[in-house]
Symmetry: D2
Amino acid sequence: MKRCIAITTGGGDAPGLNAVIRAAALAAHRRGWEVLGVRRGYAGLLNTEETIPLTRDNIRGIAHQGGTILGTTNRGDPFAYCERGETTPRDRSDEVVKNFRQLGLDALLCVGGDGSMRIAHKLHQKGIPIVGIPKTIDNDLSGTAVTFGFDTAVKVASEALDSLHPTAEAHERVFVVEVMGRYAGWIALHAGVSGGADVILIPEIPVNVDAVCRKIQERERSGRHFSLVVAAEGARLDGATVTREEAKPGGVERLGGVAERLAERIAERTGKETRSLVLGHLQRGGNPTARDRIIATRFGAAAVRQVESGEFGVMVALDPPQVLTVPLAEASRMKTIPLDDDTVLTARDLGICLGDE
Amino acid sequence: MKRCIAITTGGGDAPGLNAVIRAAALAAHRRGWEVLGVRRGYAGLLNTEETIPLTRDNIRGIAHQGGTILGTTNRGDPFAYCERGETTPRDRSDEVVKNFRQLGLDALLCVGGDGSMRIAHKLHQKGIPIVGIPKTIDNDLSGTAVTFGFDTAVKVASEALDSLHPTAEAHERVFVVEVMGRYAGWIALHAGVSGGADVILIPEIPVNVDAVCRKIQERERSGRHFSLVVAAEGARLDGATVTREEAKPGGVERLGGVAERLAERIAERTGKETRSLVLGHLQRGGNPTARDRIIATRFGAAAVRQVESGEFGVMVALDPPQVLTVPLAEASRMKTIPLDDDTVLTARDLGICLGDE
Amino acid sequence: MKRCIAITTGGGDAPGLNAVIRAAALAAHRRGWEVLGVRRGYAGLLNTEETIPLTRDNIRGIAHQGGTILGTTNRGDPFAYCERGETTPRDRSDEVVKNFRQLGLDALLCVGGDGSMRIAHKLHQKGIPIVGIPKTIDNDLSGTAVTFGFDTAVKVASEALDSLHPTAEAHERVFVVEVMGRYAGWIALHAGVSGGADVILIPEIPVNVDAVCRKIQERERSGRHFSLVVAAEGARLDGATVTREEAKPGGVERLGGVAERLAERIAERTGKETRSLVLGHLQRGGNPTARDRIIATRFGAAAVRQVESGEFGVMVALDPPQVLTVPLAEASRMKTIPLDDDTVLTARDLGICLGDE
Amino acid sequence: MKRCIAITTGGGDAPGLNAVIRAAALAAHRRGWEVLGVRRGYAGLLNTEETIPLTRDNIRGIAHQGGTILGTTNRGDPFAYCERGETTPRDRSDEVVKNFRQLGLDALLCVGGDGSMRIAHKLHQKGIPIVGIPKTIDNDLSGTAVTFGFDTAVKVASEALDSLHPTAEAHERVFVVEVMGRYAGWIALHAGVSGGADVILIPEIPVNVDAVCRKIQERERSGRHFSLVVAAEGARLDGATVTREEAKPGGVERLGGVAERLAERIAERTGKETRSLVLGHLQRGGNPTARDRIIATRFGAAAVRQVESGEFGVMVALDPPQVLTVPLAEASRMKTIPLDDDTVLTARDLGICLGDE
């Protein structure tokens, strides 16, 4: 049966989005289906002109590129839509349903994080045949073992530590590197273990700055005159909750809070030259690793098979080595690091300070 | 209790060996234990002088380096030991047991592939308290979900495809790239899906060369005047078993069999300019990816915890997200790609030719 | 004055071609000119349909990609044109001139190696206003200090040596790596010095295989049980001229001659396990380095300025820090390595064997 | 004649320092000389115990590593020496001369930037036979065409732009990336041309923020809803001189001034979401590129040949393709970008905004 499906990408971009788009389009073409790309997340469905046909030609060579050819946005919730400049959100979800029908679509694939999956769930309840595809750089989505973007982010952060290591050592300095992770510290933990960090600070473990300084001084005494600290942006210093000016529309997001504050305190208490660095969007935009390309490609193909099966309201998920589905209703819980996680135990076994002792 | 443990690396080298060594040494030091490194695999235990103490200083900065600071060899089976130049193997395993005791060792960590795990099992039966750590670039070991080295090999092969893609397209050529995998095609499959191959040939699926040529000609007709073929070294052309001159001691190993023969036949049948390339040791020696460093580091630390637990004769293994152990007796079975593997299904969904249709 | 210029890329592809195309197109657009891309080298001018307008959109994001969006060919000499399947070349240069006029072109930019520059010179003599842009991976063109492609090739070869180093050391092997350079050994020399090779073999210095083996054995005696040899494909073993089956149209080019033969002889004479590897097209197709992108971009812009100046029959060239022009008549001489080149002296100072002592 | 030479590295570290050390040591060993490494710049000569013999073993495998095995410091001027905690600098240069003699040294190689070369000149005037080796990431040293470290810094910055490009485009944002360059904008200019920046801001051209915003808005109107701005840390917004809190001993250096302020103003005036990123030490510590390794290696070897020649008080310098020497007295002038530099012309030809129109 000839079908027409659409795909959209929402929330922050992650390396692998284009590989999902390409795989879904190829798998659909192979079944003789048409594929539309919806631009700028769900918001693109508020306007039937925001779609482009995804042909063999316009998905060429995109799998290894970062970003998303469809664009994305953090402001696309049709249940609480807020045009730039407006202040009162409106529920425009009925328009999405109407446009979905007017475009003659048989299914919608939506790629996104926890927010996007919640919206997908609500759209499914309003009758749209939807399949979710999980995306989160931070690896903080509970429904899937892992998803694309995370491996690339860990690679970037780990390579940054590799780069800073020799300059830290040559100048006998302390470096504090801030990585992504507001609520879950997966990137910090994995990059820190991979990149040989001396201290790893994650939101799951309240940070005792004294313990951090003790670790640095202990290294000093044993002849290691430098230290590398990696801190998730959501790490909580001395039990405080990080206050963070949130991005305002059209405004400048301030990153760098934790690293800068921690660096100041380390310098003050230990007397060591201390520098901070915020990796920020470098973790997000790069070309996906081979592993992320594969996961993204598998998800794109699996989502199309799911459409073929006729069962909607689910998200594809990785349960290695299988790809299976979980109900959208259950897909969007936060996955933080358990304190008995094997990589946490490994970090402690290596003598890495986790800020708590 | 003060203990002394030893660690050795056997078989072909894989990116991540040094990260295992470092992690095991740090985890042991943290418990106040001493650690010896045994040089050149089990063969190093035939001679008590082939050990070096692994101190904090000689494991510095090694985690991100390829190779192994302990050296390795493919000729170290103490149950069938064959000195260079000799032709009749001898069972020298008793000497290993004797030297193990003479060195005052409490446990032996051995890092290796299926061959090394079989030897470890036999040494354990002779009374050596041993913990195995799996290593295989090819990902063909059944006891563990995955192990270190594979991710790096896939990355290298995938990047090679990325490099060849534009030159293939500019010159309207076919490229055949030969990757590792004598019995299992994991590297070819994953690199091919990641790197956008048009044809992926693996040992698990007998290759119909006509089907391969049809795929190339079909692309030609649709305006794609180039193709990328990735072939595992063990791919069987037209049902034949690959005959391969094996490496002789001191001799020159001939690689490149499959790619070269396939390229000749493609050129002959399709009339397309066709080039072959054998990636060979480039897949093996590079710096480990962040992911491989993490797996290797977790294995090293887990093996030390296993020694602490007092249970031997097992291999550490990854069962995501956990690291657990499996009996050495069961650790060394070959893991080939099931034909319903999700990545195989994905490849077919993308229209990639797997050589069988 | 509104003009229309064309650009074409000929000969083997080199990283940076797309950056030249983009820069030339942008610089021409900025002057209000139109730009046509001619596909597949000069051969594209035998057929007015082989041109595509180069607009802002179809040159987007190409600067960092290998290959050439215009395609290329080694068989495009219009003075001795030989269609695939034909055996007698014909002079079709008059057609090129006719088509150039029919397309209403004001100038032709041709990017290519020594062969392309010779053709450019002859076309200029027939009245086509032409500006050459030098391209050679091998760095063997005399008219310019350096050109794009070379830096990328050296990087790829140097990184290959980095990858092979740890596996060579772990297994106590000799590796022979064959790199590009039929007549000039620039890639071998630079990659070898950068990548820590023990032996570097270039076409400019006849190779005494005994000297090579002595170096390997001397390292063996001093406790270095491995060696890295890098050989240009045109290196001459024991004074012989390399005979090499040349690529035949539609045929399979055999690479790997020198490395394989040398590896066999080293293994034979030294008894060391020796492996060979042919880098081949990996040196050619990858993404250009930042430096190659800059050189290529500068050349593309300079060629357009040259068109504006109205002086033709020249090739742009790098004379650091300037870009200037040289007459096409003088542009195509071969540049081999002088024996007193500073990098040669450096190699000798480091104790690297150059095959002659 | 048996000699003993020493080598020291001063100022900020740069990728390639270890390659210089290795090359100089190998070239000296080959002449039968002894080599001492002086730790922490000239300051190491205030204390004869701060030297280590550089043997074949402790320089193994260092050429491709960032940092410097000798350590470095920004506080080592013996003519105005200021111990940590002290506030009044003292002239301790006589101690350096005395220790140099007491160590029985025949020559000193000093690797450093303009400050180090000035000190070298003064030490030479006090009788120390000294050869300088230029080091500057910023490429702002006039005596040499280029030196090591710069190519790596450009690569890192160019790759950062590559990474930010897709995320900027996906989110329709402006990114401002701050790179090194207090007085000279070479890194910004080269990385910007290579990485496809839309705006490049350098200290040599006062920045008219209105011009920058016009460029961004002009792109917006033509359908490019994102822009990449690269700014040297010394770029002067609206004619102001950047005031910058200088690093205090033991304190935290604040980077990020220019990018953050510029991002705020762009957001304000254009209404575009704008993000800033400070690359900081990522440009400094990474592994040197192949090109930087070669330059560094050539400099190390050339410096030893210079010692052999017996002529001191000079700095080795690159005048492609030669390495020659310039008097130390003339070596330390600042090299800024001339406004008619070919890469500047190229940037303008591509339509890149340089902040002045």
